[in-house]
Amino acid sequence: MIISVASGKGGTGKTTVAVNLALSLDNAQFLDCDVEEPNAHIFLKPTIKKQAQAYIPVPEIDESKCVYCGKCAEVCVYHAIAVLPGQDGKKGNTLIFAHLCHGCGACSLLCPQGAIKEVPREIGVVESGICERIAFVHGKLNIGEAMSPPLIRQVKEHINPQKTVIIDAPPGTSCPVVASIRGSDYALLATEPTPFGLNDLILAVEVARKLTIPFGVVINRSDLGNNKTEEYCSRENIPVLMKIPFRKEIAMAYSKGEPMVKVFPEYKKDFQGLFNTIQNGKFS
C-alpha cells in the first residue's frame, strides 16, 4: 500500500505526519519526494548506504553530421535548441540550452541526419539507506535546477510493493505534487485551521480528486485558528482522520529534529489508528 502525505500549503506538517506514521508501522518504506527541500532525513537520521546521481537525457550534436537544417529547433517546443544556418561559406551553429530540455527525445529521433545523440545531464542525487526498520529513500535536486519531476520519478522507482510505502510530497498543486502522489492508494492531506490552510486544502483536494486518489485530512495545530476547515470537511464529506494540537513541547522537539512519537510515545497509537483506518478502507 502506498500512502502519500501532501498539502497545498507548505509548513502544515507533511513531514511530521509522514515521519511519525512511518515510525509507528512495522514494515514501512519512506520516500521523501520533496526533492527541492527534503527534510525527512533530519528526523529519521538514516544511514545512507547508496548514492546514485540522477540524470535526464539531453541532446548532443555531432558537428560532423549536422547540416544546420533547423529541424531539431523546429520540433523542440521547450526552445532548448537554436540553429544558426551557415552563410557565405561559413559553418552554421547549433546551440543547446540544456536547462530548458525536458528530455522528450524528439530532436534526436527526428533529426534527418542522425546527428543528435542523447547524453545524460545530472539533475540531482537519489540516496537510499535505512533508519531502524524503515527503508529510506530521498532525492536532492541540484541547486539552480528548475525541474524536479524527473528526479521525483527516479525516487519512486525504488518503491517496494512488499512494504507500506509512505511518500512525503512537496507543497503546492502543480507538476511536482502530481509526480509525487500519482499511483498512491491513499493521500493524507495535512492542513492547519487558518484561512491560508483552508484555501490551500481546497486546492489539494482538487488535485486528489483529479487524480482519483482517495483522501483524508490531518489538521495540525488544530487549536490555532477557526473551525472553518472542519466545517468544510464535513460539508464535503471529507474524513478528518487526525488532529494534532499546538504544543510548545511538540514545536520544540520538531525544531531539534526529534520525531513526535519519540518524545511523546502516546502519539504512536494515534498514528497506528490512522493507518488502520486507511487500511480498512472505511473512508475510501
Binding site: 497545498g8 500549503k9 507548505g10 509548513g11 502544515t12 513531514t15 520533496d34 527541492e36 527541500e37 527534510n39 533530519i42 520540433v75 517546443v77 521547450y78 525536458h102 528530455g103 522528450c104 527525445g105 524528439a106 529521433l109 527526428l110 535536486l141 541547486i143 539552480g144 535546477e145 528548475a146 525541474m147 524536479s148 512537496p170 507543497p171 503546492g172 498543486t173 502543480s174 507538476c175 511536482p176 505534487v177 502530481v178 500519482r182 492547519e192 487558518t194 484561512p195 491560508f196 484555501n199 490551500d200 486546492l203 482538487e206 488535485v207 483529479k210 487524480l211 490555532l224 485558528g225 477557526n226 510548545k248 514545536a251 520544540m252 520538531y254 525544531s255 531539534k256 529534529g257
Partner: protein
C-alpha cells in the same frame, strides 16, 4: 524602482504574513503574488479584480480515434508514459512535447493549446496587485510567475511606483527561480528549526547561483532561541546578514483569521519587529 521578493525554501515560515505586512507599510508599491500554485496573499489583501486574463501555455496531444491505426508507435516513443494502451492521452502526464504528433504515420495526433490558468490585475486598499491561479495539476508555474512579474513591473513603471513586492513560492525549483531574475533583494524568511535552517541554506545557495543579493529574517525566533542563533551564524558565514527577528505571537493567526494584515490588527510587538525589517529593505 526596486523589486523585492520574499522566499523561504521551507513552506509555512510566514512569507505571506510578512509580505502582507509589507503591503500595509508600503506607499506607492505594486504587490505581486508569485506563489501561483497555492496563492494566499489575496486572503489578506482582498483584491477587487479589475482585469482577468487567460494563461495559455504549453500544448496537449489529442488522438483522433477515427484516424488512429493503433500501431503503437506513439506509446513506445512517449517518454512521459502519457498514452494508454487504449490510445487515450493522459493530459496530466502529457508534457506537450509533440513527439507523438510528428511520428504518427496516420497523422491522427494533433497538438492543442493548453489553458493552464488565469492571471489578474487588481486593486487593494494598499494599491495595485497582480496575481494568478495556476490550474490544478498544471505545469509551467515558472512561466506564469514570469508573466505576473512582467505585468507587475510594467504597472509599477507606468504608475511611478518605488517598489514591486513579491510573495514567492516555497522550494527551490522553477517558480522560485523565475521569481529571482532581476531582483534587488531576496528576503529569506525562515523559522528556528533544523528544517528551517536546512531549507534556508539551500534557497540562499540558489540566490547566490543566480547572483541575487539576499537578507535573512527569522520568524517565531523565540520558539527556539538557540536554533535562531545557529541559523544567524551559519547564514552570516555564507555572507547573508540577518535583518530582523520576529517573535511568536498567536495574534498573528488571529489577524489572518480576520483577513487583516498584522499591521492593521491589535497592538502586538510583532508589528515593531516587522517595521524594523521593513526599514532595512532597499528603497
Amino acid at each position: 524602482m526596486k523589486q523585492i521578493v520574499v522566499i523561504s525554501g521551507k513552506g509555512g515560515t510566514g512569507k505571506t504574513v510578512i509580505t502582507g505586512a509589507f503591503a500595509a507599510l508600503a506607499r506607492n508599491t505594486v504587490m505581486a503574488d508569485c506563489d501561483v500554485d497555492a496563492a494566499d496573499l489575496h486572503l489578506l489583501l482582498q483584491p477587487t479584480i479589475k482585469e482577468r486574463h487567460e494563461f495559455r501555455s504549453g500544448l496537449n496531444a489529442s488522438i483522433d480515434g477515427k484516424v488512429c491505426q493503433k500501431c503503437g508507435r506513439c506509446i513506445a516513443a512517449c517518454r512521459f508514459n502519457a498514452i494508454s494502451d487504449g490510445f487515450i492521452i493522459d493530459r496530466v502526464s502529457c508534457e506537450g512535447c509533440g513527439l507523438c504528433s510528428h511520428i504518427c504515420p496516420a497523422g491522427a495526433i494533433t497538438m492543442e493549446e493548453n489553458f493552464a490558468g488565469e492571471w489578474f490585475i487588481s486593486e487593494t486598499r494598499f494599491g495595485s496587485m497582480v496575481h494568478a491561479k495556476l490550474g490544478i495539476a498544471e505545469e509551467n508555474s515558472g512561466k506564469l510567475v514570469s508573466l505576473v512579474r512582467k505585468q507587475a513591473k510594467e504597472l509599477a513603471e507606468k504608475n511611478n511606483c518605488d517598489r514591486v513586492i513579491i510573495d514567492g513560492a516555497p522550494g527551490i525549483g522553477c517558480p522560485v527561480i523565475a521569481s529571482l531574475s532581476g531582483i534587488d533583494c531576496a528576503v529569506v524568511v525562515t523559522e528556528p528549526t533544523l528544517s528551517g535552517l536546512h531549507d534556508a541554506l539551500r534557497v540562499i545557495e540558489v540566490t547566490k547561483h543566480f547572483n541575487v543579493s539576499s537578507r535573512l529574517v527569522i520568524n517565531k525566533y523565540d520558539l527556539n532561541p538557540d536554533m535562531s542563533e545557529t541559523i544567524e551564524e551559519q547564514c552570516a558565514k555564507i555572507g547573508v546578514a540577518l535583518i530582523g527577528r520576529i517573535r511568536f505571537d498567536k495574534t498573528v493567526v488571529e489577524a489572518v483569521v480576520e483577513g487583516k494584515t498584522i499591521m492593521e490588527y491589535n497592538d502586538t510587538a510583532v508589528k515593531d519587529d516587522i517595521r524594523r525589517i521593513w526599514e532595512k529593505l532597499p528603497s
